[in-house]
């Protein structure tokens, strides 16, 4: 079936098999940040944004992307670099395998909530599993990032 969708700002037109999963299509198109970390729709590694909402690309048929806008980490390099430096500052991650899905969901969270509390952060990101860490570094890095963004908005950051 022929589908049209927008991938990271570019118009795409592809012929997708009825049972092709969005995750596999995205990887075919070179978006290697999108990974299959589990087989049970649990790990969050395959998270992409569909019309700005985070979804599991491992569970979505590619044909369902027809007419929608998909964004992967490849389409958010500048933002990812900025936030990534906060993750690195806290030594939050070890292997980094879960990082792209995690970052995409952090961006989705910030789209929904301007200033989430630590509890809200924990709840929003509960579907992103990291097997190296205990999520503490990640939480610290988000809190630091939020503080930096707030200072930036208020015009007082020296970072």
């Amino acid at each position: 079936m022929e589908i049209k969708f927008i991938l990271n700002g570019k118009k795409m037109q592809v012929d997708a098999a009825p049972d092709l999963l969005l995750l596999d299509l995205l990887r075919e198109k070179g978006c290697y940040s999108v990974k299959r970390g589990c087989e049970t729709a649990n790990c969050g590694l395959c998270t992409v944004l569909m019309d700005k909402k985070p979804v599991l690309s491992c569970s979505m048929l590619a044909v369902r992307a027809d007419g929608h806008e998909i964004v992967t980490l490849e389409g958010m390099q500048r933002e990812a670099e900025e936030f990534g430096s906060f993750l690195a500052d806290q030594g939050a991650e070890q292997c980094g395998f879960c990082n792209p899905g995690f970052i995409m969901n952090v961006f989705a969270m910030l789209e929904e909530m301007k200033e989430p509390t630590e509890e809200e952060i924990g709840e929003y990101l509960a579907g992103n599993l990291c097997r190296c860490s205990g999520f503490m570094g990640q939480t610290r890095s988000i809190l630091a990032f939020l503080k930096y963004k707030k200072e930036q908005r208020e015009g007082g950051s020296d970072r």
């Binding site: 985070p54 599991l56 579907g127």
Partner: protein
């Protein structure tokens, strides 16, 4: 692996119903469960083009389209105000936001899964399903029915003067529940639903006085009532064992969670 021969995004419910009469056809929900199955689907029927992904609120009910995501339900102000946040509580522990953006209300209810928080919650509310051919039937009747080839179109929740609460026990965060318990107190009395027994959620109805329909009920009296009801629930709700928990542990949880939910719904502090 799930194999699909043909995918059809239908233009009408009639088209969906006709396609679904073939045994090899399947109606798609959010696919978070279905994609894990090892089966071949002839025609995958997609209802997502029919505008059934919203919650409509009227004077006396909520009409939830079958393609409404669990996340939409979780964040719906009206539905949560009406249920004291019980709907949100029943959903927020399910895997993650990304998962709940995919999973649909219709898929969760139609599947009548034993582990379902969603079915447990709706069973406690005065709710109905609207089937394309079968019309409106109560959630209680639907929960007991075997899967057939009809199309679940809407889920309806009637508004009452009510108080609700939802509690669940999990071995780990975001995992399936070991036991789930939903309570709704309304004009008539109590509706208690126990899920993840691990079988399909079961409903216990009782016409009785509660702090909702009897304004002057004292905290002590409701506490005693809650104790009795919890004991009764533990006696009559059938539980079983599986890899997550034993039958005995579940029955213990039925008593504890029922009491907690009743006290919370009754507007009183946790009595444990």
């Amino acid at each position: 692996m799930l194999k699909i021969k043909e995918y059809v995004k239908v233009n009408s419910l009639e088209e969906a119903y006709e396609l679904n009469q073939k045994k090899s056809s399947r109606v798609l929900g959010g696919m978070v469960w279905m994609k894990m199955m090892n089966r071949s689907v002839g025609t995958a029927i997609d209802l997502s083009g029919l505008g059934l992904d919203t919650v409509k609120e009227t004077e006396d009910e909520f009409v939830i389209g079958c393609m409404t995501s669990l996340r939409t339900l979780e964040t719906h102000a009206g539905l949560n105000a009406c249920t004291d946040g019980a709907v949100r509580e029943s959903l927020r522990h399910i895997v993650g936001v990304q998962f709940r953006n995919c999973a649909t209300a219709g898929g969760s209810i139609y599947g009548r899964f034993g582990f379902s928080d969603v079915l447990t919650m709706f069973l406690a509310l005065d709710s109905y399903v609207e089937l394309y051919k079968g019309g409106r039937i109560s959630m209680e009747e639907f929960a007991e029915k075997k899967a057939d080839r009809d199309i679940l179109v809407n889920i309806i929740v009637k508004k009452h003067h009510q108080r609700s609460a939802y509690v669940s026990q999990r071995n780990a965060k975001t995992d399936f529940p070991v036991l789930a318990c939903a309570v709704c107190l309304d004009e008539e009395g109590m509706r208690l639903s126990i899920g993840a027994r691990p079988g399909r959620a079961a409903l216990l109805k009782e016409k009785m006085d509660t702090p909702v329909n009897k304004k002057d009920m004292s905290a002590g009296e409701w506490n005693r009532q809650a104790e009795l009801l919890a004991k009764k629930a533990a006696e009559c709700v059938v539980t079983g064992s599986n890899m997550r928990a034993s039958k005995e542990y579940r029955t213990h949880l039925v008593r504890v969670l029922t009491k907690r939910a009743l006290l919370a719904a009754g507007g009183m502090e946790n009595g444990n």
